[in-house]
Symmetry: C2
Subunit: 121 residues, 2 copies
């Protein structure tokens, strides 16, 4: 992101603008937190990952079963599971040759159900 300063005196309203700058400065979370937040939502912004999460709402499932339940090949699912795991949205457990995935915590449900509310209205 390249900074591209606009003049401070825009909109012919210097006062409003200055108080806005103050508000923004006080209420805007630190840059890093905003970035992490965007990264988190990016994870939910793919329907394959959403579908994986919906399956995991119901059960702990191995990669192979996820793949066939969602009609996708093993590699694609595996790549997405890695992303979900890196974001600590799912966890995994090996059992013999298989690896079983499940939800890491219940934040995921809350976030998705809030999203659904918005979408369904």
């Amino acid at each position: 992101m390249k900074p591209d300063f606009s003049p401070v005196e825009c909109c012919d309203s210097v006062e409003v603008h200055e108080s806005l700058l103050k508000i923004v400065d006080e209420s805007l979370p630190p840059e890093e937190e905003l970035y992490d937040l965007a990264e988190l939502f990016k994870i939910f912004g793919d329907s394959t990952r959403i579908r994986i999460l919906f399956v995991l709402f119901e059960a702990e499932v191995c990669v192979c079963d996820l793949a066939s339940a969602l009609n996708m090949n093993q590699s694609a699912i595996s790549h997405q599971l890695r992303i979900l795991k890196q974001s600590q949205l799912v966890k995994s457990r090996r059992e013999g040759k298989s690896v079983f995935y499940s939800l890491a915590d219940d934040h995921v449900r809350t976030i998705i159900s809030q999203g659904l509310e918005h979408v369904e209205e």
Copy 2:
């Protein structure tokens, strides 16, 4: 997304798999809803848009002030506002030469604060 059927008898566990298919079939929301949900989260998955929303949490703001508050040029902000408006996350109101943007409803706050909780832990 090209279907690439894996054999149904994967993982040497036909039974588990079949009951999973049933569960998925019953609990997975329709494809269109999943798609819309992913589209919604995609909107939140960009830190410029997140920052715009955080400013709008505090006040109704015109494009020019948004641009200078966030140190970005007018065009970039305007493009992002269009995306936010199309998703009905913000609404706009013209007042003379300026256009003022504000949050469309309070779902946005809820979704973002849930996300923050996850990120902050």
